[in-house]
C-alpha cells in the first residue's frame, strides 16, 4: 500500500445507475496517475517475485505435471486395466466350442446365434483395446463382454442339449410307435395272406422303419421321427386293411349262422349216427364227427386268401357252405384227396347273382376242384382253396369217411385267429387312415 492510498479509483460505488456523473468520475479515476502508479508498483513487486523464483516455480510446475502424468499413465497399468483378459477369452472360446460341439446351432439356433454374435462383439472390443498404446488400454468392458459371451454360449449349449434330447426323445417315441405298428402289421400279415398292394405297403413300412433307424443313428432326429411316423402310418394302414378284411369273422350274425351250420351238422351226425366233417377256416381245424361226437381233429391248411369266402376261380379262398365228398382219390398229386361238390347249387346261384351285379369280371367262372387233400400240416395257408392236412391225417381220414360224407366248411366259431385279430386290433386301427 502506498501511504495508505486506496487503490480504488473512487469511493463512488459502481453500478449505481442513479449517479451517472459519479460513474463517469469513477471510470476516469481508473486512469488516474495515482491508481496507475499504485498498480505499477504492485506489478513490479510481482515481477520481482517471479524473477527471483522463476526456476523454482518452473521446477514445481514441471514436477507436479510430471507426477500427474505419471499417475495418470501408470495407474491403469498398476490397477491391471491394461492387462489383456487372455484367460477370459479362452474360457469364452471354450464355452462357444462346447456349444458348437453340442450342435446348438441346430437345436437352439436363436440362442446360439446370440452367443456367436456376443463373441464377435467381445473379440472386436478386445482387438480394439489391443491396438491401443499400453497406458490407454482398458480391458474392463472387454472382460464384461467376454463374460456375457461365455454366459450366452453356456446357455446355448444347455438349450442345445435340451433341444437335442427333446428331439431325440420324440424320435425315440416315434421309432417305438413305428416298431409297434410294424410288429402289429407283421402279426396280421402272418395271420392272413395279404394282397400284393397291402403286402408291399407292409414291406414299405419295414423299409421306412429301417431307414428311420439309420437316420436316427446319424443324429438327424427330426427326419428320423418323420420317417418313423411314416412307417407307423403305413403299417397302420396294413392293419386296418387286414382288420377290415377279417371283420366278417367277428360279425355276430355271420358267426351265429356258422354256429348254426355246425350245430345242424352235429345234430345230423347224432340223429343219423353217421360221420360228418366240419372245417373251421379261421381255427385251421378239421373235425370229424361220428354219432354227434368229435372223434378226430386235424390241423388243416386253407386257401391262402381264406379270410374271404370263395367267389370265383383263382381267388385262392376256401369256400364256405355245406358240401359232400363226391369221390375219393387215392393217387392225388397231393398224396390222397377227397373231392367236394363245390360249387353246389347255392354257390352257383350266388355266383350268378354277383356276376349280374358286375361284381365278378367277365370270363371268370366259379372255380372248382375243391378237395381235402394231403401234403398239408405246414402251419400256413398255402392252397388255392382246398383244405390240406398232413399225409398221416389224410390216411386216417380216408379210412373214416366215404363218398357222400357231408362236409360243412365255415369261417369259424367266433373264437379263431381272425375274430381275435379283429377284437385285438379293431379298436386300435379304427379311425386311422
Amino acid at each position: 500500500m502506498a501511504g495508505g492510498t486506496p487503490i480504488v479509483p473512487s469511493a463512488v460505488p459502481p453500478g449505481s445507475r442513479s449517479a451517472s456523473p459519479a460513474l463517469v468520475l469513477w471510470i476516469a479515476g481508473a486512469f488516474s496517475p495515482t491508481f496507475l502508479g499504485a498498480m505499477s508498483r504492485r506489478f513490479s513487486g510481482f515481477r520481482t517475485f517471479v524473477a527471483r523464483w522463476r526456476w523454482r516455480l518452473f521446477a514445481l510446475v514441471f514436477c507436479v505435471t510430471l507426477l500427474g502424468c505419471a499417475a495418470g499413465l501408470v495407474w491403469p497399468i498398476a490397477a491391471g486395466y491394461t492387462e489383456a483378459p487372455l484367460y477370459d477369452k479362452g474360457r469364452a472360446w471354450d464355452a462357444l466350442e462346447d456349444a458348437r460341439r453340442a450342435a446348438a446351432s441346430r437345436w437352439a439356433p436363436d440362442v446360439q446365434r446370440e452367443a456367436e454374435s456376443a463373441m464377435r462383439v467381445a473379440l472386436a472390443a478386445y482387438r480394439r483395446e489391443e491396438v491401443r498404446l499400453l497406458p490407454f488400454r482398458d480391458f474392463r468392458p472387454v472382460r464384461s463382454a467376454l463374460a456375457a459371451a461365455e454366459d450366452k454360449a453356456r446357455r446355448a449349449q444347455a438349450e442345445g442339449n435340451r433341444g437335442r434330447l427333446d428331439a431325440k426323445a420324440r424320435a425315440d417315441e416315434a421309432l417305438a410307435g413305428g416298431e409297434m405298428e410294424v410288429a402289429r402289421g407283421t402279426e396280421v400279415g402272418e395271420a392272413m395272406h395279404l394282397g400284393p398292394y397291402t403286402r408291399t405297403l407292409l414291406q414299405k413300412s419295414k423299409i421306412a422303419l429301417r431307414e428311420a433307424k439309420a437316420i436316427h443313428a446319424r443324429g438327424d432326429f427330426p427326419e428320423a421321427q418323420r420317417r418313423a411316423e411314416q412307417a407307423a402310418a403305413q403299417a397302420r394302414a396294413v392293419s386296418k386293411h387286414a382288420v377290415d378284411a377279417a371283420s366278417r369273422y367277428a360279425e355276430p350274425s355271420l358267426v351265429a349262422r356258422w354256429r348254426r351250420m355246425i350245430d345242424e351238422t352235429i345234430r345230423w351226425s347224432r340223429s343219423s349216427g353217421g360221420t360228418a366233417i366240419v372245417v373251421l377256416k379261421e381255427n385251421h381245424r378239421l373235425d370229424v364227427y361220428d354219432d354227434g361226437r368229435v372223434v378226430r381233429s386235424y390241423r388243416a391248411d386253407m386257401g391262402y386268401r381264406s379270410v374271404n369266402d370263395k367267389l370265383a376261380s383263382g381267388d385262392a379262398a376256401t369256400p364256405e357252405g355245406r358240401y359232400r365228398i363226391t369221390h375219393k382219390k387215392p393217387g392225388s398229386a397231393y398224396y390222397k384227396a377227397l373231392a367236394l361238390d363245390y360249387p353246389n347249387s347255392e354257390d352257383r346261384a350266388r355266383f350268378a347273382q354277383m356276376k349280374r351285379r358286375g361284381q365278378i369280371p367277365r370270363g371268370v367262372g366259379p372255380g372248382g376242384l375243391i378237395e381235402i387233400h394231403g401234403d398239408g400240416g405246414r402251419g400256413k395257408d398255402w392252397t388255392r382253396g382246398c383244405v390240406a392236412i398232413s399225409n398221416r391225417d389224410i390216411d386216417d381220414l380216408f379210412r373214416r369217411v366215404g363218398v357222400g360224407t357231408p362236409v360243412t366248411i365255415v369261417g369259424g366259431d367266433g373264437q379263431g385267429r381272425f375274430a381275435r385279430l379283429v377284437r385285438e386290433h379293431g379298436a386300435s386301427t379304427s379311425g386311422t387312415q
Binding site: 491396438v131 403286402r199 405297403l201 414291406q203 414299405k204 423299409i207 439309420a214
Partner: protein, 196 residues
C-alpha cells in the same frame, strides 16, 4: 526455420499417407468370393467344421477392419487375416467337395449293389420252384421286391437331387428286404432239393 518447415512437412505427409491408407479390398473380395464358393460347394452340409473355422476367421477380419477404420489405418494385419479367411474358405470348399464326392460314391455304390441284388432276386424268383404250394409265397416275395424297388427308385431320385445321405439310407434299407427275399428263395430251393 527452413529445417523446421521440412520436419513439419514430413510429419504432415506421413499423417496424410497413414490417413489415406485403404483396406485391402482385393484380398477381402477374394476372401468373400472363396466363402461364397465354399457355401455353394455345400460346406454347410458336408464340411460344417471347416465352414465354422471360416466364420471365425471372417469375424476376426471384420473386427480388425473395424478397429483400423477407427484408428491409424494400418491394414497389414487385415491383409494377413483376409488371406487366412481365403485359405480357410478354400479348404472348406475342398473339404465339402471331397466329402460330397465320398457321400456320392457311397450312395452310388450302395444303389449299384442294391440294383444288382434286386435283378438277381427277380431272376431267382423267376426260377424259384413254382406250384400250388408256393404261389402264395411267390406272390408275397414279389410284393416285397416291389417295395424294395420303390425304395430303390426313391434312392435314385435322392441321388439325382444331390441328397446323397438319404439316397444311401434308402438303398441300405431296401438291401435288407432283398436279402431277406433271397434267403427265402434259397430256403425254398434247398427244401425242394432236400425233398428230392
Amino acid at each position: 526455420m527452413r529445417k523446421m518447415m521440412a520436419v513439419l512437412s514430413l510429419v504432415f505427409g506421413l499423417v496424410l499417407v497413414a490417413g489415406c491408407s485403404k483396406p485391402p479390398q482385393q484380398a477381402i473380395d477374394s476372401a468373400n468370393a472363396s466363402i461364397d464358393a465354399a457355401k455353394q460347394a455345400g460346406a454347410a452340409d458336408y464340411a460344417p467344421d471347416s465352414l465354422r473355422a471360416v466364420d471365425d476367421a471372417k469375424a476376426a477380419l471384420d473386427a480388425e477392419l473395424k478397429v483400423q477404420q477407427d484408428k491409424f489405418r494400418s491394414y497389414k494385419k487385415s491383409d494377413e487375416l483376409a488371406a487366412d479367411v481365403k485359405a480357410k474358405a478354400d479348404k472348406a470348399a475342398a473339404d465339402a467337395k471331397a466329402n460330397m464326392e465320398q457321400a456320392k460314391n457311397d450312395a452310388t455304390a450302395a444303389i449299384g449293389n442294391v440294383t444288382t441284388a434286386l435283378a438277381d432276386a427277380k431272376a431267382a424268383l423267376d426260377k424259384a420252384p413254382k406250384g400250388k404250394g408256393t404261389a402264395a409265397d411267390i406272390e408275397a416275395m414279389k410284393a416285397d421286391l416291389a417295395a424294395a424297388e420303390a425304395s430303390l427308385n426313391d434312392a435314385n431320385a435322392a441321388l439325382s437331387s444331390g441328397n446323397y445321405k438319404d439316397a444311401k439310407a434308402k438303398a441300405d434299407a431296401a438291401a435288407s428286404t432283398i436279402q431277406n427275399v433271397m434267403s427265402q428263395i434259397q430256403a425254398a430251393i434247398d427244401a425242394k432239393a432236400g425233398k428230392k
